[in-house]
Amino acid sequence: MKFLGLVIAFITGVFLVYAAVDFPDWADPESPASTHVSPHFIEKTMEETSVPNIVTAVLADYRTFDTMFEATVIFSAAVVCFFVLRTFLKKEEREERLYRHVLTGVTIRVKEGGRIPPSDDFERIDDSWIPHDLIIKTICRLMVPFIQIFALYVVAHGHHSPGGGFQGGVILGASVIVLAMSHDLRTTLQRMREKVVGILCAVGVLLYAGTGALCLLLGMNFLDYSALAPILGVGPVTARSHGILIVEIGVAIAVMTAMVWIYNNVSSRGNYNEGL
């Protein structure tokens, strides 16, 4: 197999090198890629969409149809992870469980059919439980709000600087994952329930596709944001800019929740215990 791999990789490489000779040089301003379609984007974006960040404009307006499916890809990845990994333990109540008394650090074992301790002072733990490091815990908790504010900035400022829904969404998701890693999965799940994650993920993409459908219902083509002009009370060009913002928000929600969802399932192998 090793030899076969070498041969295939080598043949592919030689073939690609052979073809690459015909390519334009690196960063050649006269290359077809730089002269055929892209100049239109660079020169017309501002007047057609009033978004200075051309990448955002192309991403969320000219090629917004692609981007909608991009968001869908991440959504489907999250759903697949959930679908493949998640195990619903119906018999959980009948299994042995461990509880830890937070104040004293005493751990008790509840045997099959036993009752859960009534007090709030007990927290559920796994048998592989390791005490959390206080410093990491505290610092992470402190960082989370800042991370999230930055993420919102990235989402909102995507029109003018590098950023947008995907980037902002990933940062938002990271904030939650940081929490999950520094504490444990159960803590995060208490703040952001599985159901909420699942529904928000769908809602995020739905916001995107729904905007498109709204344009369609308003009589224009799917995702043609200029149809939103009468609703938003602005001109068609500005409406495009606003439309981009709406879908970016949708993307941000979807990406954040998808990241969290994937993390939840993969880190706990689908049984939603402590996680990593």
């Binding site: 073939f15 690609l16 052979y18 073809a19 690459a20 000779v21 015909d22 390519f23 334009p24 290359s31 077809p32 890629a33 730089s34 002269t35 055929h36 379609v37 892209s38 239109h40 984007f41 307006d61 000219y62 090629r63 917004t64 149809f65 692609d66 909608m68 499916f69 991009e70 869908t72 890809v73 959504f75 489907s76 990845a77 759903v79 697949v80 959930f82 679908f83 493949v84 998640r86 619903f88 159901k195 699942g198 529904i199 993920c201 769908a202 809602v203 993409v205 739905l206 596709a209 729904g210 498109g212 459908a213 369609l216 224009m220 083509n221 799917f222 995702l223 043609d224 944001y225 200029s226």
Partner: protein, 500 residues
């Protein structure tokens, strides 16, 4: 509304996927109706679109209102419209037919299942409809990712493993396609298929274009499981849940064949593919080998489902070979076979689904006496089998007819021989199954003189599974009888005039 048909075809299932996923958390019983309604609307739109294309010719839909090549546009012509309709119909029928088995297999994951199902269909529909090379890649990945999810939920252990292998291969295939598109982009500066086709003729001698073509083709062959790149397919389909395999087996490979034909016909033009590059003969030989190997490997299998997956490998050879014969009869055969093979694969896989549902297995031993127990299911299976063998008036015969007559016209007699060989092997394959199902496990003292023995009672699958199967089976014959119309009014227009 009719101007929005191209949008509705894709968008309605897409939206419904999110709704289903959200609804799955609230009330699981909502998922199925939403999916059915969405796919029904999509199917209706496909038919509407087909009618429009028949009346008006190519339908262009500009997404977000931008003109191509800057925005993304759909160019729906006869070829797209036909395949779209087939994809939509197949997925709708399969959805209805497999409800019971889905309910049984994933009682607590209905939401994600239907969501993925509908997304998979959306991906396939999008691939077929789109006129943008990069958009095709994204949709390819959607249908692939959701497909992995659906396939992985079959038998424990084997299913995830073989799906993971499929994932490696599928990702490489998609990446190759992406790379090929990158090559095209670097020499043309465009991603729009029609635009690229307009620029390419002056570049036919470029090595980059040749490389782009070959890389795209290799990618697509990987995804359609053309021999020798087929290794992922049999296991992935065999160990999958029935509902998933009966959706993916008819659609995934066929959609990729559509992509190949689209690349040849629209993006690179047949002239380039068949004349400038002199690889047609080699590809036809490859197809011949694929057919023979698929057939022979199918003979070795002792599991019905796995046997059928090797038949798919052989069928891929049919279509690839037909398309690469380089004449209009072969191309007609390949396109017609996309339609027919999708339907007949659906038919046999639905039958297998019913058998698995009742007999709890798909090995040969599980099939004994099935004609008595499940006469309607087996009836449907037999019709599907006859179509795969190529017995008139089922549709499989007519596509084979065009393929063979294309082979004769092109002088590629080895392709004709391979087709006949695989037909004969299919006779053996399917009659072996039929024989096992026909003869009862108890064989002594049977026959005359014992007329009043207790006949085992019928244990047919539920009506909601049998009726769709029979509809598909009847559809095989109906499509067969309407072959003339399909070729005359649709496929003829899908083939460029230049093709002899």
């Amino acid at each position: 509304m009719s101007t929005q048909y191209p949008a509705l075809v894709v968008v309605v299932p897409l939206l419904s996927a999110f709704l289903i996923s959200a609804a799955g958390w609230a009330n699981k019983r909502l998922c199925f109706p939403i999916a059915v309604v969405a796919l029904a609307i999509s199917t209706y739109s496909c038919f509407g679109l087909l009618v429009r294309v028949l009346n008006e010719g190519v339908v262009v839909y500009r997404w977000a209102g931008w003109d191509p090549p800057w925005g993304i546009a759909y160019y729906v012509d006869h070829l797209n419209a036909l395949v779209l309709t087939v994809v939509a119909v197949v997925s709708l029928i399969n959805l209805v037919a497999t409800k019971k088995s889905i309910d049984e297999e994933f009682p607590d994951k209905l939401g994600p299942f239907y969501s993925l199902y509908v997304l998979m269909v959306t991906g396939c529909l999008g691939i077929v409809a789109t006129g943008d090379a990069f958009n095709l890649y994204v949709l390819l990945e959607i249908s692939a990712l959701t497909g992995y999810g659906l396939l992985a939920m079959g038998s424990k252990g084997r299913a995830p493993l073989s799906t993971l292998n499929y994932l490696y291969m599928g990702t490489i295939g998609a990446c190759f396609y992406l790379l090929g598109i990158g090559y095209l982009y670097i020499v043309t500066g465009s991603l729009n298929m029609v635009d690229i086709a307009g620029i390419l003729p002056s570049l036919y001698q470029s090595k980059a274009v040749m490389a782009a073509f070959i890389i795209c083709m290799v990618g697509v062959w990987l995804k359609m499981a053309l021999f020798p790149l087929h290794a992922w397919l049999p296991n992935a389909y065999t160990y999958a849940p029935s509902a998933a395999s009966s959706l993916i087996a008819p659609l995934a490979t066929k959609v990729m064949i559509y992509v190949m034909i689209r690349l040849i016909l629209t993006v690179f033009t047949p002239e380039f593919a068949f004349t400038t590059l002199s690889v047609s003969n080699a590809v036809v030989w490859l197809a011949v080998i694929a057919i023979v190997v698929g057939a022979v490997l199918a003979l070795q299998e002792r599991s019905l489902k796995k046997m059928l997956t090797y038949v798919i490998v052989a069928e891929v050879g049919y279509m690839v070979g037909g398309a690469w014969l380089g004449n209009s009869a072969g191309m007609t055969g390949a396109i017609l076979h996309i339609v027919n093979d999708a339907l007949m694969t659906l038919c046999v896989f639905l039958a297998v689904g019913n058998i698995v549902y009742k007999a709890k297995g798909h090995c040969f031993e599980d099939l004994q006496g099935l004609f008595r127990k499940m006469p309607f299911t087996m009836g449907g299976f037999v019709i599907g089998a006859l179509s795969i063998i190529g017995v008139p008036p089922t549709c499989g015969f007519f596509s084979k007819w065009y393929l063979i007559s294309g082979a004769i016209k092109a002088g590629q007699y080895h392709f004709m021989a391979a087709l006949l060989f695989s037909s004969l092997v299919c006779v053996v394959l399917f009659f072996r199954i039929i024989e096992i199902g026909y003869y009862e496990p108890f064989s002594e003292e049977h026959g005359h003189g014992h007329g009043h023995h207790q006949e085992p009672s019928m244990e047919e699958a539920p009506l909601s599974m049998v009726v769709p199967l029979l509809i598909v089976a009847a559809g095989l014959v109906v499509v067969g009888l309407y072959t003339g119309d399909i070729v005359e009014h649709i496929i003829r227009f899908a083939i460029p005039k230049g093709l002899a």
